[in-house]
C-alpha cells in the first residue's frame, strides 16, 4: 500500500468514530488519540477498522507504533508491503 492509500484507510476508520474531525488540521506528529479526542473504545474501533482493511490484526503490542498519524501511516505501509 502506498502512503496516500494508507492515509485514506486510516482517515476512513477515524471518520467512523469521529466524523467531525478535520484530519487536515491534525498534527501528524502528535498523539492521534489526543488530537482527535479518542478514548480507548474509539481507538479500538479505529484499530479494528484498519486491521480489517489491511487484512491482519494490529496486535496490542504494536499500539505504541501507531500512536501518531504519521507513524500509523508508516505502520500500514510496512504491514502491506512485501
Amino acid at each position: 500500500m502506498e502512503r496516500t492509500e494508507a492515509y485514506e484507510v486510516i482517515a476512513g476508520a477515524l471518520a467512523s468514530v469521529a466524523p467531525e474531525v478535520d484530519l487536515g488540521r491534525i498534527d501528524p506528529g502528535e498523539e492521534l488519540a489526543f488530537e482527535a479526542d479518542l478514548d480507548s473504545m474509539d481507538f479500538l474501533h479505529v484499530v479494528e477498522a484498519v486491521s480489517a482493511a489491511i487484512g491482519r490484526d494490529i496486535p496490542e503490542s504494536d499500539y505504541r507504533k501507531v500512536g501518531t498519524l504519521d507513524s500509523f501511516v508508516d505502520y500500514v505501509v510496512g504491514a502491506t508491503t512485501g
Binding site: P19, E20, D22, F34, D37, D39, S40, M41, L44
Partner: protein, 433 residues
C-alpha cells in the same frame, strides 16, 4: 409511553414503525420516541397483532399513556415501564413491516420540510439507512442559505479544537459558518466569527430545535444534579488500586483473541463492580418513598461521554449474568448507540447503580453526584503509571483510583469501604472475574 429516565414526564412518538394489521413480536422496534434528552428506538413489550395506534406522531403525551392496542395481548396495552428485573430482549430490530415512508427520524427535519413546502415523499434520503437529512430538504428546496450541517441529533460538526476554543471564548458554534469538511466549523472559522457570547445567541423563541435539545439536556441534567445535592446526603470514599495484575492478565487474553473480541480495561472494571454488588447490596438499588429497595440484579448504568459534549447513561440490564467478553460487547454496543443517537428505549430504563469512567485523559479520580433514585455512583479515574511498593521495593505500576459516592441514608463509610475493598479484591484475581 414508558418512563425512560428518572425525570421524564412525557414523550413524543416521532415515527411509527408499525401499522394496524402488523404482527409484532416482543423486542421488535415499534416506534421512535423523542424525549427531552434523546430520540430512542422503542421495542414492543409483548407479542400480538397491531389493532390500533392510539397516539399520532408528533404529539407529546404523558408517561403511562397507552400507545398501541395489540390483539392477542391483555386488554390494556403494554404501557408500563419495563421492570428493571425483566430481561431486556437483545436489540434485534425486525425488518420493516411495510415499505416505510421516507425515513424522517427528526422533528427538526420534518419541521423544515413543512417550512419549505417540501413533500417528503419526493425526497431522496442521503442519511444513514436512506433517512432524510436536513441537507436533503435544503437541496430540494433550492435553499440559498449556506449549507446546513448534516442532521446530527443536536451535534454541530466542528473539530475538537474549534469546539474547545469556542467553549473557552463563550462562542456559540451554531452561529459560526464552517469551512471544514461537510461544513464543519474549524479553528480558523472562529477567528473570523464575531465574539458573540453564547448567552447572547438567537432571541428566545427562535432557537433552533437542535439548540433547544442541547439546552434541554443541560437543563435536565442540571435539575437532576441539583435535586440530588438537595435530597441525597452524599458521602465519598476513594481507593487507589494496583491494576497491573489485571492489565497483564488482560494483555495475555487479548493476544489470543481477534481484534473484534479484544477486551478493554473498562470492561474489567465494570465486571469487578458488578461482582462486588452481589455481596454488598447497600449500593445497588433505589431510594423510594423514604426507604431503600435493594435490587436482586445489577442493572448497570454506564456514563458515556458524547462527542461535542454531554453525557448519557445507558443501562446494561442484568449485568451480573454477563461474562467479561459479553460485558465488553454490550459496552461497545451501548457506547456506539449512545454516540450515534440510536439507543433503544430499553437501554434507558432505570439503572440500579451507575459507573462513570473518566477515560485515558481524565483526572485521577472522580467524586460524582448520584442520580436519584439510585443510591451510589462508582467512579474510575484514568489508569496511570505510578510508583508503588511491592515487597518492600518501589516499582512502577499501573494504578487506578476507584471512588464511591453513596447515599448516607442507606450505607455508611464502613459499608462503602467494604464495597471498594471487594472491587479491589476482584481486580487482584482477574482470572476469577
Amino acid at each position: 409511553m414508558p418512563s425512560l429516565g428518572a425525570d421524564m414526564d412525557a414523550g413524543t412518538v416521532v415515527e411509527w414503525r408499525i401499522a394496524p394489521g402488523d404482527h409484532v413480536a416482543r423486542g421488535d422496534i415499534v416506534a421512535v420516541v423523542s424525549t427531552e434528552k434523546a430520540d430512542l428506538d422503542m421495542e414492543a413489550f409483548a407479542d400480538g397483532i397491531v389493532e390500533e395506534l392510539l397516539v399520532p406522531e408528533g404529539v407529546e403525551v404523558a408517561v403511562g399513556t397507552p400507545l398501541v392496542r395489540l390483539a392477542g395481548s391483555a386488554p390494556s396495552p403494554p404501557s408500563a415501564p419495563s421492570p428493571p428485573s425483566a430481561p431486556a430482549p437483545p436489540a434485534a430490530a425486525a425488518p420493516p413491516r411495510r415499505e416505510p415512508a421516507p425515513r424522517v427520524t427528526s422533528p427538526l427535519v420534518r419541521h423544515l420540510a413543512v417550512e419549505r413546502h417540501v413533500d417528503l415523499g419526493g425526497v431522496q434520503g442521503t442519511g444513514p439507512g436512506g433517512s432524510i437529512t436536513r441537507g436533503d430538504i435544503e437541496r430540494v428546496s433550492h435553499a440559498s442559505a449556506p449549507p446546513a450541517p448534516p442532521e446530527d441529533r443536536g451535534r454541530i460538526r466542528a473539530s475538537p479544537l474549534a469546539r474547545s476554543r469556542a467553549r473557552r471564548r463563550g462562542l456559540d458554534l451554531r452561529g459560526v459558518p464552517g469551512t471544514g469538511p461537510g461544513g464543519a466549523v474549524v479553528e480558523a472559522d472562529l477567528a473570523s466569527a464575531a465574539a458573540t457570547p453564547a448567552t447572547a445567541g438567537p432571541a428566545p423563541g427562535t432557537t433552533s430545535p437542535t439548540g433547544r435539545r442541547a439546552d434541554a439536556v443541560r437543563r435536565s441534567v442540571g435539575q437532576l444534579m441539583a435535586r440530588s445535592a438537595r435530597e441525597v446526603p452524599h458521602y465519598y470514599l476513594a481507593s487507589t488500586i494496583d491494576l497491573q495484575p489485571a492489565l497483564d492478565w488482560l494483555a495475555g487474553q487479548n493476544q489470543d483473541r481477534p481484534v473484534a473480541e479484544r477486551v478493554l480495561p473498562a470492561a474489567l472494571l465494570a465486571r469487578a463492580v458488578v461482582v462486588a454488588c452481589a455481596a454488598h447490596p447497600l449500593v445497588n438499588g433505589h431510594w423510594v418513598d423514604g426507604a431503600f429497595r435493594p435490587s436482586e440484579v445489577v442493572d448497570l448504568g454506564v456514563a458515556v461521554r458524547l462527542r461535542g459534549g454531554g453525557v448519557v447513561s445507558p443501562v446494561v440490564a442484568d449485568a451480573g449474568q454477563l461474562s467479561v467478553p459479553e460485558l465488553m460487547a454490550r459496552l461497545r454496543q451501548v457506547v456506539e448507540r449512545a454516540r450515534s443517537g440510536r439507543l433503544l428505549a430499553s437501554e434507558m430504563a432505570g439503572p440500579t447503580m451507575t459507573i462513570t469512567n473518566l477515560g485515558d485523559r481524565g483526572a485521577d479520580s472522580v467524586l460524582g453526584v448520584i442520580s436519584p433514585p439510585q443510591v451510589a455512583l462508582v467512579g474510575f479515574g484514568r489508569i496511570a503509571e505510578r510508583p508503588w511498593v511491592v515487597d518492600g521495593e518501589v516499582v512502577a505500576r499501573s494504578v487506578v483510583t476507584a471512588s464511591l459516592a453513596a447515599d448516607h441514608r442507606v450505607s455508611d463509610g464502613q459499608d462503602g469501604s467494604a464495597f471498594l475493598a471487594a472491587v479491589e479484591r476482584s481486580l487482584a484475581r482477574p482470572d476469577d472475574l
